[in-house]
Symmetry: C2
Subunit: 249 residues, 2 copies
């Protein structure tokens, strides 16, 4: 999910997504990569569903490129996004055989998968992998809890600002831009509806609040998706975090 640690792993991983440093960054071994026989790629087009909640899931894997979402849906159709999967993020859990969420590709997506049972075996033999996975899972747990605050207590405007902050920060990390005061620029990888599902809002409210932030000079829009943030501090204030501490401490 969206958080700094898993992103810095992406950096580690460099342009070599095949070697699973995301999972095995700390150990010098390449055991995972030797497991050619249980490793395979899967490609998805934007909009395709990777797996449905409740389906049998006989693999685990990580995102190589593209973006996927994890969503939960109630019978009456209300949906809540519970995670955003970025390159290097891991999906699936050892010890469970069915998917707990719908996983949907929002952009074209490449995943690198391992058949589950050999992976589990490997994990039993290789303490580093379990430890690395634990670390990543703890990061995701922190991100999920961060998001609980956003969902439970923030206003619509703050929610939008929080999401934009996170995306801006991710992009800054991915592209190694300076953290200093200069303007930041990025593309929204999500439709208004997907943003609404992430934020627990309606797409109309998302649209209105983005317009409001634009009107107030917090952001600039070029087209519907390309965002410029002239002053990151300002955006963080709008998000309800203190400028330096808080969410990104």
């Amino acid at each position: 999910m969206l958080n700094e640690r898993s992103l810095s792993v992406t950096q580690d991983c460099g342009d070599c997504p095949i070697r699973h440093r995301a999972v095995c960054a700390r150990c010098e071994s390449d055991e995972l990569d030797r497991l050619e026989e249980i490793k395979y790629y899967r490609k998805f087009e934007a909009g395709q569903t990777v797996i449905w909640s409740g389906d049998k899931m006989d693999f685990v894997g990580s995102v190589v490129s593209g973006i996927a979402t994890l969503t939960q849906t109630m019978e009456d159709g209300r949906t809540q996004m519970v995670g955003l999967l970025l390159p290097s993020d891991f999906v699936g859990r050892p010890g469970r055989s069915t998917a707990a969420y719908d996983v949907v590709a929002t952009t074209d997506l490449v995943m690198c998968c391992f058949r589950k049972s050999p992976f589990e075996e490997l994990m039993g033999r290789t303490p580093h992998i379990a430890q690395r996975l634990l670390e990543m899972t703890l990061d995701e747990l922190d991100a999920a809890r961060e998001w609980m605050l956003v969902l439970g207590r923030k206003t619509a405007r703050e929610k939008i600002a929080s999401l934009l902050s996170i995306i801006a920060r991710r992009d800054a990390t991915l592209h190694l831009k300076s953290g200093g005061g200069g303007p930041l620029t990025f593309d929204l990888p999500l439709t208004r509806e997907a943003m609404a599902d992430y934020l627990g809002l309606t797409l109309e409210t998302v649209s209105r609040q983005i317009s409001a932030l634009k009107k107030d000079g917090v952001i600039t829009l070029e087209g519907k998706r390309h965002v410029t943030v002239p002053d990151m501090e300002r955006l963080l204030e709008e998000a309800g975090d203190d400028a330096d501490g808080g969410m990104f401490a």
Copy 2:
């Protein structure tokens, strides 16, 4: 946090909370228990703060008895509970030295703690512990995501019903009551305000919705805290989950 797996561990643990089966349920070893020199108990009274967000945290540990909450607070005082710690639940994370949340005892609380660095060392040597911790963390992540749906998409009434369902189910598990149609009975371990903080509501709304559920015969109240659920299916419907599947599938 509140979920079935960590609770069933409490069962495993029986009345022997000192042996950390919660962490080490699968392995036959008792390594953790041999580490007397790094293990110590801490007791807290209801209302006491175990640790403040941002404080240095040089221990990890699990709850032996009582209940604690994890909360996040914004500068302006808005607070969101992000986790409920029940007996056998684990606090603290290997690899991080400061607390990410306020941890507060809501009842009298006993925790069994380990100094962090020896624990981490042990974890490095003992794959089962890392694996068990991973499993517990994944359960917590699922619970957190479950809660994101509650916070983002459910109505006040559904939120209350969801919380009551979870508490009822936990109690049923702890006391090994039958899952069948009979009435369930339990005490609320939280004030209205704490419930509000968990649900992203105000305490007034919590109070009103509890009154409404009482009026509609979904629950019965004796005093302010003792709840009877005549028909669990009904409560689950009110929570917006299908009666059998959904949240507790």
